[in-house]
């Protein structure tokens, strides 16, 4: 056993911490109010080699490990949840499937601009009638004269406005009433492809959440991502990695809420004493500190398993489920410790809670995580 980060991981932590404190945090509150996407931050992260963090150097990536990815997501999210989800989706939903399943040509064409930050990464899975039950996909692709002709729509797709391509899942055949689902790369500038961002969200206001419409879009046959008919299997693998990203976001936001609550409790005096001297407040803070430690431990364990080529589905689900739920609890208690001030935007903790709620929903709801864990333990 070794609980120390490696030299590289420590340096990445230090660098991401400074970057997040100095560049990401200062505008977070305003971006939340203005619903302003932090494009400049991603340009800077591109220059620093962070956008391609875990991908091979031959495609412009930096070849770092999953623990480093988790550290980067945690630090960005500690400063700004919107920046965190954008980055996490970029890497784990956008870049990872291309890296895992893409051909050499597809990686050269599409993974490279993702690594440099020229394009953000996105993945289109969810549809109005296919959320937790991704098998409900209705988008359909038909092979006509060597081209896929795609029709359908996607909803809640992160980053699509800033992406050069969006791989989408679609039905590519029906056999005995069973759907064959595959993933197909769709360049966003294709005729018939449109992206809209109509949502009024609860939180993560500075992130890009879109609806995608695909109307008679034609792409060459070899734009298939991975093997035909394996779309379902592939996105389950993709989501395993993505859950580490969501877990890291949750740890980052919970850390921010805990730090704010601890500092406020020490500063605030009522009944002639610092409220941090009241057991009711102390126990809340002690629970926060403990849950954070446990969530981060699970996060690093899931990431470590992935880095060592071990099976990590169960641990990724546990990490995502536990971290997102303790993140909500921590944010709620942080607001409580702030009293009336906690209800005010100025103190930031209410933003943390609005941002955190998505973590119990995206990339598999808490219920879905429990289903995954139950399956893994043999139910």
């Amino acid at each position: 056993m070794n609980y120390d980060l490696t030299d590289e991981q420590q340096m990445i932590y230090k660098m991401m911490k400074e970057f997040s404190d100095e560049v990401v945090a200062p505008g977070a509150e305003q971006r939340d109010k203005d619903k302003a996407f932090p494009k400049e931050i991603f340009d800077q992260l591109g220059k620093l080699g962070i956008m391609g963090l875990p991908f091979p150097e031959e495609y412009g990536g930096s070849g770092a490990d999953t623990i480093s990815f988790a550290i980067a997501v945690e630090e960005l999210s500690r400063a700004c949840g919107s920046t965190g989800i954008t980055y996490s989706a970029h890497v784990s939903l956008g870049g990872a499937p291309l890296n895992l399943f893409g051909t050499e040509g597809q990686k050269k064409d599409y993974l490279v601009p993702i690594c440099t930050g020229e394009s953000l990464g996105a993945f289109g899975l969810t549809e109005p009638n296919a959320g937790s039950d991704a098998g409900g996909t209705e988008t359909e692709a038909k092979l006509v004269n060597g081209e896929w002709v795609i029709n359908g729509s996607k909803c809640f797709i992160t980053n699509a406005s800033y992406a050069k391509i969006v791989p989408v899942t679609a039905i590519t055949a029906r056999k005995d009433g069973k759907k064959e689902i595959s993933a197909i790369i769709v360049p966003t500038d294709k005729m018939g492809f449109s992206v809209k961002a109509p949502y009024e969200k609860m939180g993560l206001n500075a992130s890009d959440t879109t609806e995608i419409y695909v109307e008679d879009v034609h792409v060459p046959e070899d734009f298939m991502l991975g093997k035909r008919g394996e779309g379902f299997k592939q996105f389950l693998i993709t989501l395993d990695g993505g859950r580490i990203g969501i877990g890291a976001m949750a740890v980052g936001i919970a850390q921010a809420a805990y730090e704010k609550a601890l500092a406020y409790a020490k500063e605030r005096t009522q009944f002639g004493r610092s409220i941090s001297k009241f057991q009711a407040i102390q126990f809340k803070l002690a629970d926060m500190a403990m849950k954070l430690e446990l969530a981060r431990g699970m996060l690093y364990k899931a990431a470590w398993l992935k880095d060592h080529g071990r099976k990590f589905s169960k641990e990724a689900s546990m990490c995502k489920l536990y971290a997102s739920e303790i993140c909500m609890e921590t944010c709620r208690d942080a607001i409580q410790i702030h009293g009336g001030n906690g209800y005010m935007k100025e103190y930031q903790v209410e933003r943390y809670m609005r941002d955190a709620k998505l973590l119990e929903i995206g990339e598999g709801t808490s219920e879905v995580q429990r289903m995954v864990i139950a399956r893994e333990i043999g139910c």
Binding site: E8, M11, S62, A64
Partner: protein
């Protein structure tokens, strides 16, 4: 062009500092590259990007200080030297003797160091090194322009600017305003481990005993007294002024 950068690892003064038995406790302390030294590293890397240079980062301290060197390597330095010193903090005398002993065997055109270390705050080590090497030095620089064999340097003199022409090789200490230190890039971080880092023990430098024996002793260290709450005067301006004069004369006894 060979550039040597002298840097120190210090504790982060923005973190909580605990003193135990007259010593700063290293438990739970965040160690960072001395912020003034970041300007030195950045300037060296900028010169390297503009006209090409081989940068060697040099530090003195316990083995943990290697991480400050790795940061310099990640920012763009090419190689690093660690003079291992595990005893109580070296004073300006021993530190400059040890560093000068390493530097004098190397080729260099320019030596850069921070204006001062934020822990000891003496601002002496780099300048003493220049004296021992017999080269010119210029402190607290805010601009550096290299010409052919000379340099034009702007230095901060208590809010004014002094412009100095200086012959290479020379040593300069860097001040805020010189540049914006970069974040180490991720590829830089990944490459840092593969760059050479040479460690010297004090014995290897074969110095005289008196050169490596500290000339000063720290007798005690303590935290500054907690700031007392200030007093805010109220009422008409006239009354406030006379009350203030009262206090300065009678209570504070400063006028």
């Amino acid at each position: 062009m060979n550039i040597l950068v002298l840097l120190k690892q210090t504790f982060d003064t923005e973190e909580n500092i605990v003193i135990e038995n007259g010593q700063i406790s290293e438990e739970n302390v965040e160690f960072i590259m001395n912020p003034y030294d970041e300007y030195a590293v950045e300037e060296a890397v900028k010169i390297k990007e503009e006209i090409g240079a081989e940068i060697t980062a040099i530090t003195l301290g316990p083995s943990r200080t290697a991480s400050a060197l790795r940061t310099a390597l990640a920012m763009g330095a090419d190689q690093a030297v660690l003079i291992e010193w595990d005893e109580q903090e070296a004073d300006e005398w021993t530190a400059s003797n040890l560093i000068a002993a390493v530097v004098k065997n190397r080729d260099f055109d320019l030596i850069l160091g921070g204006n001062m270390a934020i822990d000891s705050g003496s601002g002496q080590v780099a300048i003493r090194v220049a004296e021992k090497l017999g080269i010119p030095h210029v402190s607290t620089i805010t601009k550096l322009t290299l010409n052919d064999g000379t340099a034009t340097v702007e230095r901060d003199v208590e809010g004014d600017v002094e412009i100095v022409e200086i012959q290479l090789p020379f040593l300069a200490t860097t001040q805020q305003g010189l540049n914006e230190p970069r974040y180490p890039s991720l590829p830089g971080i990944m490459k840092a481990k593969k760059k050479p880092l040479k460690t010297f023990s004090v014995e290897e430098l074969s110095l005289e005993n008196e050169d490596v024996t500290t000339a000063t002793v720290i007798i005690d260290q303590y935290l500054p007294a907690k700031k007392q709450a200030g007093q805010i005067l109220e009422g008409e301006l006239q009354d406030q002024v006379s009350e203030l004069v009262q206090i300065l004369q009678n209570a504070a006894k400063v006028v």
